[in-house]
Amino acid sequence: MTSIRFLVNGTPAEVEVPGMRRLLDVLREDLGLTGTKEGCGEGECGACSVLLDGQVVDSCLVPMCQVDGRIVRTVEGLALAAREHGTLDSLQQAFLELGAAQCGICTPGMLMAARAYLDAGGGPDSDAIREGIAGNLCRCTGYQKIVEAIATVAAGEMA
């Protein structure tokens, strides 16, 4: 057991866990942040994507020993604005209005990948957006409306 301290969605967290416990399990089971999903457990589907110091990672592949002292952001962190103001952030709103979420199971991970893309200065070019979300599988949408939603935000049209 190791004591690991990190920041999750702006709040300090401290857990006593084996160093190789997956970040995904700590988020879902120890911290009750079930917005992050498990789709394959081997880094192929991206459903468990979170931001680690602003970089998008598959939380099923991140052992807790690598999280000490770092900043984690999950879909619940994107939604902080929603909880405080009763609205969604611009990316979530674009997904909602343009139909980019269907069954919703890939959505939290997809949103985090999109957030990382936008935060890195990504623009509305659809090829670049597709590259940015290539690690996140969606089986419902054909990606068309996801790309459109991200492009709309990147173009500043959801402000």
């Binding site: 192929e44 589907c45 919703g104």
Partner: protein
């Protein structure tokens, strides 16, 4: 993308001047989905608040696991528990623990819940015993200490050599011999398709919670709550009230959560019953792919008589489907396959022979399209080959043969209304600029042939290293259940005005991403003259909602939607009659306060004039058909055989567009699944076991693999449904694969007759042409 705004209440669709059938687009508006209501459960999904099965917490719950066969066929002699293990701290369940019947409720009921000692193991992933423990580490440790003693039996993996037939149909119309006698050309072909995994991103998951009165509640990821309910009653010996099924938020289904959830629910419930506490049965991806159902592999053989001008004179079609180890839904899948196998074309003389047999692989089951994608890939590819043989355009041969009003199908069904085959064809050909681009790719091919660099081998350079192609396919999809299915099921949907003045829709139809919880309030509020927010959806819980039939067969919007509209109309009439005919919107609150709740239960009634004889396979196989056409463009790398699908234009006639964004979403998602089916999705088998049973090895398209998708929605309404809807879920899945394969042929000159069109198959085909073989 083309759609139109919905007039409310639902009336005959408005038509734009440009094209009488094309739905016109809604307008972009902030806070709305192109003028329509936002996805109702969208905010919960987008904030991480939506609760899927694995997100649900039940205090004291244990983890469950399944001990499976590792042989394709064997006699189970004994189940041995390691005597060195203290088994008192865990729960082990075998067939001996099943209080009711050891059969999973289904069509033929041949599949055991768990293989009993002395019984026959029939596939590699067959459940034999169950284990539950307080933590996952114990499960991992003890799973290995349960040993299955077996005697191997000879397996069969060839559906054509199987001695056990699950189902067999023959559809005959006209005089086959006369058709062939009159033929200018006879074209034969054999087409093969393999397994396809549904690959919903949420794995199967069920949690069983025992109650003190001996009942059992099951919460899980599922499409058909009443299938699971029936299975619980049968195998656990429960009454209707004791068995309760609650749908959690469901992360995709595509048919894959139609019947397998019954097995998982039974397993979780058997463990929970013995453990006396909740048990979580959550599959990981590996187990989900290894054990659950896939799309049926099929072999389809065509022999077709054609007149000199391309008119179809006779079709002789043979279909063999691989059912896998148990019957599941195979007879119905095969039936739909047989009925769609000729394609959307008029042909006076037809014989369709279809059979599905047992093999020793995990059972195959429902997957979007349900037998139609297999046979329509064959029919369309075959027709494209006929067009090539006759040197006429793929668009022209379809124009000559596509169904029109008044035509008769192989079951003798007269197409009396809602026939948009020619319309979707014309729209796709126009929107895809098909003839012009096809001429351009032909010029490209000619230039490649003439250039030195165009020769095969590793020495290509520049533009000649890749080839572009364009392909066209059409399809049809029978709306709702096949034959008399809907009449037999007798679905119920309810609309209630509660005593508190709330409007509540009670249906057993599930939301799994397609938009059920968004479209029903839209349909009902339109009928009642209320804002959509005034209508709430009851949770899908068998303790609350009626059996509206399974959420399958693209029937929810069409059939259950129709029932809800009818129920809302009755509710409106009843309430208004109590208030001197004043509008419902003005009086419903006062009515609720004075009269208390009013609930309308609407039961399905046969569509007028629609009759089918299940014994002879004559009559109206479907109340109506949806029609689709698809144009795909591809680039093929001539060195590697890799295919990049660039653009797909999908034109789909859905009868009536209830919500344009959700409807487009269905077309786009279904089209990409078809592109995956055509190009990369493949299950490799060894000794009846899936070799690539994980996401690292079973590939589905990423955003980079996906083409640009353009959707054109067409509305040729079906009069039997009050809103005219014919369903949308499956139709796009039928047409994408043959369009892509036609585009590959246009690029490289080779017909890929076995899906998927992998780089290996494409390279082999190119090499064969270079060596002088017949390209077909």
């Amino acid at each position: 993308m083309t759609t139109r705004t919905l007039p409310r209440p639902v009336v005959a669709p408005e038509r734009s001047a440009a094209d009488a059938l094309v739905a016109t687009p809604g307008l972009a508006t902030r806070g709305r989905a192109r003028g329509y209501p936002l996805r109702r459960e969208g905010p919960a999904k987008l904030t991480g608040a939506a609760m899927y099965a694995d997100d649900l917490v039940f205090p004291g719950a244990w983890y469950g696991a399944t001990i499976r066969s590792t042989e394709p066929r064997a006699r189970l002699v004994a189940i041995e528990l390691d005597p060195d293990v203290d088994w008192s701290k865990v729960v082990v369940v075998t067939a001996a623990d099943i209080p009711g019947e050891n059969l999973v409720s289904a069509i033929k009921e041949d599949q055991p819940v768990l293989v009993p000692v002395g019984g026959e193991i029939r596939h590699h992933a067959e459940p034999v015993a169950l284990l539950a423990a307080a933590d996952r580490a114990t499960i991992r440790q003890l799973k290995r200490r349960i040993r299955l003693v077996t005697e191997a039996l000879p397996p069969n993996f060839d559906p054509e050599r199987s001695d056990h037939v699950f189902a067999e149909y023959e559809v005959v119309n006209g005089d086959l011999d006369a058709g062939f006698a009159a033929a200018a050309h006879v074209v034969e072909g054999e087409y093969r398709v393999g397994h396809q995994e549904q690959l919903y991103i949420e794995n199967n998951a069920m949690i069983a919670v025992p109650s003190e009165d001996g009942g059992m509640a099951v919460h899980g990821s599922l499409q058909c709550p009443y299938y699971v309910h029936k299975a619980l009653k049968k195998s656990l010996g429960l009454t209707s009230d004791q068995a309760r099924v609650v749908q959690a938020e469901t992360g995709g289904g595509f048919g894959g959560k139609e019947e397998y959830p019954s097995i998982i629910a039974l397993h979780a419930a058997l463990l929970a019953r013995k453990a006396g506490r909740p048990v979580r049965m959550i599959y990981d991806r590996h187990e989900d792919i290894a054990a659950t159902t896939k799309r049926h592999p099929a072999i389809v053989r065509h022999r077709t008589a054609v007149a000199a001008d391309g008119t179809l004179l006779a079709q002789d079609i043979e279909i063999v489907m691989d059912g896998g180890a148990y019957c599941t839904l195979t007879p119905v899948v095969l039936s739909r396959g047989a009925l769609h196998s000729g394609g959307p074309y008029r042909c006076p003389n037809v014989r369709i022979r279809a059979r599905a047999t047992r093999t020793n692989t995990p059972p195959n089951g429902a997957f979007r399209g349900f037998g139609a994608p297999q046979v329509e890939f064959a029919a369309e590819t075959h027709l494209n080959r006929i067009a090539e043989r006759l040197a006429i355009s793929p668009a022209e041969i379809r124009r000559r043969n596509a169904y029109e009003l008044g035509d008769v199908t192989p079951t003798g069904q007269v197409l009396r209304e809602s026939v948009a085959a020619q319309d979707v064809l014309r729209l796709a050909v126009e929107a895809g600029d098909f003839e012009r681009l096809r001429a351009a790719t032909a010029r490209g091919a000619a230039e490649r042939r003439d250039s030195v660099e165009g020769r095969p081998g590793p020495y290509r350079s520049g533009a000649a290293r890749s080839a572009s192609g364009i392909g066209l396919a059409m399809g049809w999809h029978g709306a709702g259940f096949t034959g008399s299915g809907e009449v037999h099921i007798g679905s119920v949907a309810s609309v209630e005005l509660t005593g508190e003045g709330q409007i509540r829709v009670l249906i057993g139809s599930t939301e799994m991403g397609q938009g059920t919880t968004t479209i029903f309030p839209l349909l009902v509020s339109g009928e009642l003259g209320l804002p959509v927010e005034a209508v709430e959806m009851a949770p899908v819980d068998t303790a609350l909602v009626p059996d509206s039939g399974p959420t399958v067969a693209s029937r929810t919007a069409m059939v259950v939607g129709g029932l809800c509209i009818a129920a809302a109309r009755r509710l409106r009439a009843e309430v208004e009659s109590r208030h001197d005919g004043r509008p419902f919107a003005e009086v419903f609150l006062a009515d609720a306060a004075s009269n208390g709740p009013t609930r309308i239960d609407q039961t399905f009634e046969p569509y007028p004039g629609i009759e089918f004889d299940d014994a002879t396979y004559r009559g109206d196989a479907y109340p109506a058909f949806g029609w689709a056409a698809c144009v795909a463009t591809v680039d093929v790398d001539l060195d590697t055989g890799e295919v990049a699908v660039r653009d797909v234009i999908a034109v789909d006639d859905v009868g009536h567009v209830i919500h344009p964004i959700l409807c487009e979403g269905q077309v786009e998602g279904g089209t990409l699944q078809a592109v995956g089916y055509a190009t990369i999705e493949e299950i490799k088998l060894d000794d009846g076991r899936y070799l690539n049973d994980r996401l690292a090895t079973y590939l589905i398209p990423t955003a980079l693999d996906a083409p640009r998708l353009t959707t054109i929605l067409v509305e040729a309404p079906f009069s039997g449904a009050p809103h005219g809807a014919k369903g949308v879920g499956e139709l796009p899945m039928d047409v994408g694969a043959p369009a892509v394969v036609a585009a590959i042929h246009d690029a490289v000159g080779a017909w890929i007759t076995e899906l998927p069109a992998t780089p290996e198959r494409i390279l082999a085909a190119i090499t064969a042409i270079d060596a002088g073989a017949d390209p077909a």
